[in-house]
Subunit: 400 residues, 2 copies
Amino acid sequence: MVRWKDLSTSEMTLLDHVFWSSRISREALASGSSFSKSRANAAVAGMLEQGVLEATGEQVATGGRRAETLRLSRNLGVLLGAALGATGLEVGVMTPDLELLAHHSEPADVRDGPARVLSRVRSLMREQLKQCGAKVRDVIAIGIGVPGPVDFGLGQLVNPPLMPAWDAYSIREDLKVDFSAPVYVDNDVNVMALGELWRMQRGLQNFLVIKVGTGIGCGIVCHGQVYRGANGSAGDVGHICVDPQGPRCHCGNLGCVEAMAAGPAIARAATEAAESGESPLLKQMLDERGALKLLDVAEASRTGDAAANAIVQRSGALVGQMLAAVVNFYNPSHIFIGGGIQKIGPLFLAAVRQSVYHRSLALSTRHLEIQYTPLGERAGLIGAGVLGMQESLRMREAVV
Amino acid sequence: MVRWKDLSTSEMTLLDHVFWSSRISREALASGSSFSKSRANAAVAGMLEQGVLEATGEQVATGGRRAETLRLSRNLGVLLGAALGATGLEVGVMTPDLELLAHHSEPADVRDGPARVLSRVRSLMREQLKQCGAKVRDVIAIGIGVPGPVDFGLGQLVNPPLMPAWDAYSIREDLKVDFSAPVYVDNDVNVMALGELWRMQRGLQNFLVIKVGTGIGCGIVCHGQVYRGANGSAGDVGHICVDPQGPRCHCGNLGCVEAMAAGPAIARAATEAAESGESPLLKQMLDERGALKLLDVAEASRTGDAAANAIVQRSGALVGQMLAAVVNFYNPSHIFIGGGIQKIGPLFLAAVRQSVYHRSLALSTRHLEIQYTPLGERAGLIGAGVLGMQESLRMREAVV
């Protein structure tokens, strides 16, 4: 197996470039690097020979003639990713260029505590590896996204409101029970933002990813890098106040957007609409299913239920009101919205946009695009893979 | 006169390091650079000989023995800086290491338009130069801070609400009437943030500078660099809503923090307190001075006037409410507050802190420091000098 530390610094720089380009022709790689063409070509030839890079067989047109594209060699091994949410988890195996080889998702409750949840994650990881014919020693790196503030250096959660039992628990040590590959942990929305940054080959430098599910969080990309803040809690937008007279949030304050517009608030409003008789459809769903969730409201909204639509619009307007403040402050080029809310479709997005465009300054919204995360449901898992690979490449650089 | 383009890339790198270190010993410079000690020492010796660097004569203790400190040579020339506010302007001449040689400030109204205001700026710049025995050809670079959103590449204001006549006016072309040095223009609060970044020798990587005067704006430092956003309007926090039922702002929306807590709102509230008889002191000031300004309220507050104090506390609480949202999103390590509001003293700061600590998440405020800008009244002018020097050094790098 190839080790990063056997490579020169210039080879690592080129490797990093190939990784962030997804696939790239030799010519584009040589001309995009800071090295001379001959030096770049020699390094590429060396890495092809060592099996670090490989030619894909695909051809891209470059200036009239056809050129082969390069990618990280599949001989390097595989990446493991895990995306933990408050109510579910997803585990996957990826190639070094983020092609998903196997993945599995299932409901889970993070409040069961780290030992139980991570034991299940490890077991799923072993299963998924086996399913694609890979072994534990083939794992290059493991990336994990978790729904709370993270001390990135330690790879631990810090005072996570949704999962207090995880506070300062060593996720790295836990994963060591089964794996020897390096483990990198970050907040779930930061990981989604990293995934989108990779998808766009770092083409956007300043954008936000908002996740609306059980909570509301924000991943911030600044100057082409994920920004974590002074204490790793940047992007904790769920507790921005949108109504000083609003209901009390679990954080203790009044009118936090999370308490008024996230999944549980949407489900609660839907239950009230069902019980009050305002929506016969929601009533029927409640009777059949025992409880209403965000996904049920999404379903009712898609069929045109007026009460469900009003709930969705109200949630979108509140999220938009919070985002208007964030847009005035941050002036991002794009806002990508992900999480369970994506299931609702265009109605939610329209309400968010209307609210942002109404409340933010014209200059900040002139070119602003607000849309659902292009990576969709896979944003967390792909992002976890990118995290593992990025940090694995970066760490090698630090060690040299 | 020395030209940047005669220097090698490694010399420029070391020069940049000396600039950002304010003053530094040879040993610290050599060990802090990415070059070998011998290479760094040779480059320093060369730059001392060429008169680009100079030894200050000051001694610093380094590991037992005394070492001379280096700084940018005063033979390089001088920097010109201008800090334009909505109601005043300041012009200064600085050494390459930001020592203020001469400066002058006076009231001005940016609504008089760019031609008139900039003609006065140029005239003051020429006077100030003469006063310190420098000539136009000695000017290395000119940095200018202006109170509105700036297209940094073009050096022009873009849709500035406080000064519409300046929209797309070429400040660079205007300055060319008298000066041939390069001119760099940025938003006034960005310039203050750059000044503080320089003062701390880039020791803080993620912090905010808030200016409260006629308007309210924010300079953002992210990953050790000033962040301007996708359209140059990042930090436009004055139009964040703090009360959906609040008064209408000049931007057209309701309850913007600027409309409720900046200088004019404070002056308006003080005038009401004077006219209603609530504050005999403010009444007396109003009668004597014809109108009340932020500085009058500051004066009344310092003497313990209850009505003035209530106005100051309300303003601080509203600014803090806006900042609470910003802190949840950005998790800065420090917030420095500058502008006319500094004159008010600790009462305003206490109200801001109380409001932020009450509304922001504990993790985000655990190590957060909120204080007035350490550079104080000079933050804008020093920042303008830093802008000129930084960009002058950076542009040379781009040209190579």
